[in-house]
Amino acid sequence: MALSYLRSSSSRSANFLKPLSSAASLRRPISTDTTPITVETSVPFTSHQCEAPSRSVETNPSELLTFFRDMALMRRMEIAADSLYKAKLIRGFCHLYDGQEAVAVGMEAAITKKDCIITAYRDHCIFIGRGGTLLEVFAELMGRQAGCSKGKGGSMHFYKKDSNFYGGHGIVGAQVPLGCGLAFAQKYSKDETVTFALYGDGAANQGQLFEALNISALWDLPAILVCENNHYGMGTAEWRAAKSPAYYKRGDYVPGLKVDGMDALAVKQACKFAKEHALKNGPIILEMDTYRYHGHSMSDPGSTYRTRDEISGVRQERDPIERVRKLILSHDLATEKELKDIEKEVRKEVDDAIAQAKESPMPEPSELFSNVYAKSLGVESFGADRKEVRATLA
């Protein structure tokens, strides 16, 4: 799975076996166990213009533990980013994804790295899901050289070309036409891959989305539009922004599926279904019913437009990590302590990455002028004092 290389050098099963009592040596190596388990999703899928996939999802212990670990890592990363922001090490905009982790991990479980993902500015966890490292995340957030965009992009501009993660976009909705363009390129090159273009309930009201959807449906593009509906477009609740908040139906002639976005297995099932559909029949819309615990961004407390009871209610009843934890425990795939150990491990990883990122230097001044163009044009750029900063734009 995506985060496998983030493990410490000792194998995962060894971690479980090491600190435990003798009972542990009798335990089967759960981390590599692929015996299929069938789990029912929390709620059935609701569909529009298509047949909903089955509620029963096939998974296995290895996958469930990966889900747990990956989501715990994402959760810890976002909370750490919160602290870093308050410590003024991260500046500008910082949009946190905690609460929505199931969408990222469920999607990755259903697709390959050859499929493309493009999203908006709440992109930290998707980047991790695509194979990005914690160091790249924290370094980019702090504007350091080791960042995935060399410190020049920031929170809203994470990209990973080699695993087909196309960002990371600040303008609401603008990534959807880009995503349909990716799907077009996939069709043009006959890749048999699909593109997932993620957007929020706020962006769902953008005209360019419907324009792009129309073109995708006309040209039969393998585009999957995923609405991460966390019910608030910054401070505006969905019912105040959309006459029809049934986002999965808004495609009209394009089929849609409504999914419980807090259930990683439901997300995985839906994405698998969507991929098959898109390769045969063109675009499809997935609406992930999810929730963000933080406000829209770090400058938004998140409590002026919704009650604290609502937030804690969702946290108690629908939290994605808790759901997977309960699944693992009920199927006896790991003990409470083992799961807690994973969380501790993950916390340490995050802390280590932050420490390493803090040591990465700020970009060189010459980086101001690099990567403006794809190759040097000999174009000169000047600072305020023409004699002082003089560079050739590359």
């Binding site: 493309c116 060399k150 501009h157 976009h169 603008a174 036409p177 390129a185 090159s189 792009a212 690099s370």
Partner: protein, 411 residues
């Protein structure tokens, strides 16, 4: 600057008598060769980018001080001196664009064309005629009228390595795609730390046409010029149209190619062999000693028309078609300024915030010590382009105004 042509404008209006004022824009599309009535005994300038220039010094031209309403079109038998030693073949500017596009599509299977009516219709200005039949619907794509999204899709496709050529039916329509062009096209290479290149070409006709109305007569080069990360070029002859089109497609950077509605029917003899024009280079149209006139696109022809008059009056203007609007070719421009010490900029953008304004600043900053007089910049009026023919003529710079400006500059 502005005052100089208020006075001239009135004088010019009095002289205006050409019947071709009532030119119908529809004719532009349907009957290419008939579009530009040629006056008897008129002489034309055929300028080549290799620097050789041919023009007829016709004393009768002094008489014809009238308003030049047409862009100058070269007839096939215009001047015997117009053929260079290369055989080549003759074609119109829109055919040159098509030839360039077709050659690049043959050469690289990743090149595709997207735009409104580019496919089955053949292109609203016939630039893409025949390409859909040859390359199929997946490479020449008819889009719905949705500039924002299909420009975005072109950029998304370019991120993966495809090389789309996005056509705006009229440059003005690309205002709807401004966000995509500015944020995604221009900036993605930078914000991704160099991971993605966007080898897209965005092209289309712009400029003041023949009574097309305010919304269809826009000069978008002034709006796009600040976007970091893009290149902008403007073509003006069939030779450089084909060359710039090919260079733009081959470039790894996003390039915006500005064509002009009134120049599509210019005819010229171009070489048979493969050639491209340097995207960042300016073209020396007419070398001279007294004053440097910087211009581009349609205004080049107004300038050359004025140049004939100026030569008769004893001036020796150096005319440079800057071609590269972003970045400016300060090397060629600088050498010229160092020689002549006087600069006149003639552009079609509006006075406020146009290419001329930026060029004035760039030349002043870089070559101030070489200037004997302040830079003069003749631009279009800061008004929406009116529909009425006479008013429309006064919106753009006319050759008589250019002549007056040079005389003032060289006093």
């Amino acid at each position: 600057m502005a005052t100089s042509f208020h006075g001239v404008g009135a004088a010019v209006a009095a002289l205006s008598s050409s019947p071709s004022n009532s030119f119908d824009s529809k004719k532009l599309l349907c009957s290419p060769r008939r579009s530009f009535p040629v006056r008897k005994g008129a002489s034309f300038v055929v300028a080549r980018s290799d620097g050789s220039v041919n023009f007829d010094l016709n004393p009768k031209a002094r008489r014809a001080q009238q308003l030049i309403v047409n862009a100058v079109a070269t007839k096939s038998d215009s001047s015997p001196a117009s053929s260079s030693s290369k055989p080549g073949h003759e074609l119109l500017l829109f055919e040159a664009l098509r030839e360039g596009l077709e050659e690049e599509m043959d050469r690289d299977p990743r090149v595709c064309v997207m735009g409104e009516d580019v496919g089955h219709y053949g292109g609203s200005y016939k630039v893409t005629r025949g390409l859909a039949e040859k390359f199929g619907d997946l490479r020449v794509l008819d889009t719905p009228i949705a500039e924002n999204s299909f420009t975005g899709m072109g950029i998304g496709a370019a991120m993966t390595g495809l090389r789309p050529v996005v056509e705006g039916m009229n440059m003005g329509f690309l205002l709807l795609a401004f966000n995509q062009i500015s944020n995604n096209c221009g900036m993605l290479h930078y914000t991704s730390g160099g991971q993605f290149t966007i080898p897209i070409v965005i092209r289309g006709p712009g400029g003041v046409g023949r009574q097309l109305g305010a919304e269809h007569s826009q000069r978008l080069e002034s709006y796009f010029q600040s976007i970091p990360g893009i290149q902008m070029v403007a073509c003006s002859t069939p030779y450089n149209a084909k060359g710039l089109m090919k260079a733009a497609i081959r470039s790894e950077n996003p390039v915006i190619l500005f064509e002009h509605v009134l120049l599509y029917n210019l005819k010229e003899r171009i070489p048979d062999e493969d050639y491209i024009c340097n995207l960042e280079e300016a073209e020396m149209v007419r070398p001279g000693e007294h004053v440097t006139i910087l211009t581009y696109s349609r205004m080049r022809y107004h300038v050359m028309q004025a140049a004939k008059t100026l030569v008769n009056k004893g001036y020796d203007p150096e005319v440079i078609d800057i071609r590269s609007l972003k970045p400016f070719d300060l090397h060629t421009i600088g050498n010229s300024v160092k020689k002549t010490h006087r600069v006149l900029i003639v552009e079609e953008c509006m006075r406020t915030g146009g290419i001329g304004a930026s060029l004035t600043a760039a030349v002043t900053e870089n070559f101030h010590d070489y200037l004997d007089a302040p830079i003069m910049c003749l631009s279009s009026q800061d008004v929406p382009t009116p529909y009425a023919g006479t008013l429309e003529e006064w919106t753009v710079v006319q050759p008589a105004q250019i002549v007056t400006a040079v005389e003032q500059l060289c006093k």
